[in-house]
C-alpha cells in the first residue's frame, strides 16, 4: 500500500518494493513526495543551545558575534566542540587510536589483518578436513604398495582437544598470511605429532595381521596336503629305471649254512601248522566279510 501523503522521513511509510521484477503494480511517487526529508529545520543540543544563547543577546551583540563568525579564520575548532557525546562517530575515536591510515584500500587490507581469530576457525576446519582426505589417499597408496589393507577417514578421528589445537594453529596461519615461516612450521609439527604415531600404529597392526594371515594360510595348506587321495599315475616301466645298486660282494651278508635237519618238522606238526595258518586266514576273511 502506498502512502500518498509523504511526510518527512521520520514519519513516512514509503511503499516497500516487495517483488524484484514485477514492480508494475507499485505506483511511483514524484520527487515532491520524498523531498520532505529536506523540509523543517534541524534540531540538536548544540543548535538549540546556540540559538537560545544567541536569542538572549542584544542586536548589537549579535552583530558582533556574526562579524566574528564571518571572520573566522582564526577560530579554533576545539572551541566549537561542545564535548557532546557523539554517537554519530561510529567508532571513529577507536579508529584514530589504532592509527589506521585514511586510504580506503589500506583500510580494507588492515581490516582484513586485524580480524578476530575466531573468524578463521571455520576456514581452518575446512582446511584440516581437506588435509585429512589427502593424507588418507597418500596412506592408502603406501599401504597398497606394501600389500596392506587400506584405511578410511575414521582413522583420523581425534579428541576434542586435539581438534581444537589444530583448528587454532591453522587459524593463526590464515590470519597471518604474510608472516614468517614459524607459524607454518608450528602447524606442520602439530600435524606430525598428531598423526605420525597414529599412522605408525595402524601400519604395524596391518603388518601383524598380514603375518598372521600368511601363517594361517601356510598351516592350512600343509594340513590339506595330507588328506589328498593318491592320484592314478602312469604305469611306470620299471625296467627303464636304473636298478638299485647291488651291494658289493664284500658288503653282502655272509650266508650261513643251514642244517636242514635242524629245521625239519614232524610231519604231523607240519600239517597242524598249515591248518593253523588256514584257520587264521579264514578268521581274517570272515571279519572282512562282516
Amino acid at each position: 500500500m502506498m502512502n500518498e501523503d509523504f511526510t518527512p522521513i521520520q514519519q513516512a511509510d514509503p511503499t516497500i518494493i516487495k517483488n524484484g521484477i514485477n514492480n508494475d503494480k507499485f505506483n511511483s511517487v514524484t520527487f515532491d513526495k520524498v523531498a520532505g526529508i529536506f523540509d523543517h529545520e534541524k534540531g540538536s543540543k548544540t543548535i538549540d543551545k546556540e540559538l537560545n544563547e544567541f536569542g538572549d543577546f542584544s542586536s548589537t551583540e549579535r552583530e558582533e558575534i556574526n562579524d566574528k563568525i564571518n571572520h573566522n579564520a582564526d577560530i579554533n575548532l576545539d572551541d566549537l566542540d561542545n564535548g557532546t557525546e557523539s554517537s554519530a562517530f561510529d567508532g571513529l575515536d577507536e579508529l584514530d587510536e589504532l592509527g589506521i591510515d585514511d586510504t580506503a584500500e589500506q583500510l580494507e587490507n588492515e581490516e582484513e589483518a586485524v580480524g578476530e581469530l575466531e573468524d578463521f576457525f571455520s576456514s581452518a576446519e575446512f582446511i584440516i578436513w581437506i588435509m585429512e582426505i589427502i593424507m588418507v589417499y597418500g596412506m592408502n597408496f603406501y599401504l597398497k604398495r606394501n600389500e596392506l589393507d587400506s584405511i578410511g577417514i575414521e582413522a583420523f578421528d581425534k579428541s576434542a582437544r586435539e581438534q581444537k589445537f589444530l583448528v587454532r594453529s591453522w587459524a593463526k596461519v590464515l590470519q597471518k598470511r604474510n608472516t614468517k615461516i614459524s607459524a607454518e612450521m608450528e602447524l606442520l609439527f602439530a600435524l606430525g605429532s598428531t598423526y605420525v604415531m597414529k599412522l605408525k600404529g595402524i601400519v604395524e597392526a596391518q603388518k601383524l595381521r598380514k603375518e598372521k594371515a600368511d601363517f594361517e594360510a601356510q598351516k592350512n595348506a600343509h594340513k590339506n596336503s595330507k588328506k589328498k587321495p593318491v592320484k592314478k599315475g602312469k604305469v611306470v616301466d620299471i625296467s627303464k629305471h636304473q636298478k638299485p645298486e647291488q651291494p658289493k660282494e664284500e658288503n653282502k651278508p655272509k650266508k650261513t649254512k643251514i642244517n636242514k635237519d635242524n629245521f625239519k618238522l614232524n610231519k604231523d606238526e607240519e600239517i597242524e601248522e598249515v591248518a593253523e595258518e588256514e584257520k587264521e586266514e579264514n578268521e581274517v576273511l570272515s571279519i572282512v566279510e562282516e
Binding site: I17, F31, A35, I37, S86, L107
Partner: protein, 210 residues
Amino acid sequence: MDGKRASNCIGIIGTNNTGKTVISEEIIKRFNAKRDRIKKNGKKYPSNYHKLVVFDVQNRYEEYMRDGDINIMIGDDGWEKKILALRDSMFVADDFKVLIDDDRISKDLLKVFGYRMEYGIDLVFIVWHPTLIPPRIYKFIDKYYLFRCNGNDKEFVSRINGDKETIAKCKHILDYNFEKHTEESYGNLYPNFPFIFYDTGTNKAVKVNF
C-alpha cells in the same frame, strides 16, 4: 511536532545522464525554499547558519548560491573546517570522487561525518558507481537515491550499506526498467529521471518518477 529533524547523509548513485545532478538541483531548491521561509519569519540566526556548501564541477549550482555560501574548488585546503563551522546547513558534492584525492579521508572530513547530526549538516554525495565512494564513508550514508547503474549485481549489492536483499531488488528494478525500453532513448521515455529512494534505517524503498 516541533518541526525539527535530524540531518541526512545521502548517496546519489547512477551512471551518466540518468538525472543525478538534476535531482541534486531539486534538493538544493528545497533547501533554498526553507531558507526563504526562515528569512521570512524574521527570526535572527547566527551567520554560520543555513549555508550551502557545494563542490560544483559542472557549474550547475551557481544560480542557487547566496551570500555566505561556499563553493569548494579542487585543491582547496581546509574546506572541511569551513563546513564544521556551519550549523543547519547543506553540503552537496557533485562527483565526490574527484574531491577525495587518492581516497584519503582526512580527519577533518571524518569529523564532518561524525558531527553532522550535532551540527545539523545535510551531506549529499554524487557518484556514478558504488565503488567510487570510499568504504569508510558508506558507514555514514543512511539514504540512497539509486539511479540506473552499470556494473554487476554483486558489486552493487556488496558496496551499498543496507539490507542486501532490498538493494538487490532495487538493482533489478532499475535494470529491468531500462532494458525493456532499449530501442528508445531512456531520457525521452523517462523525462523525469526515475530513481529509487532507499532508507537504510527503516529498510524501505520507493520508486520515484517512474
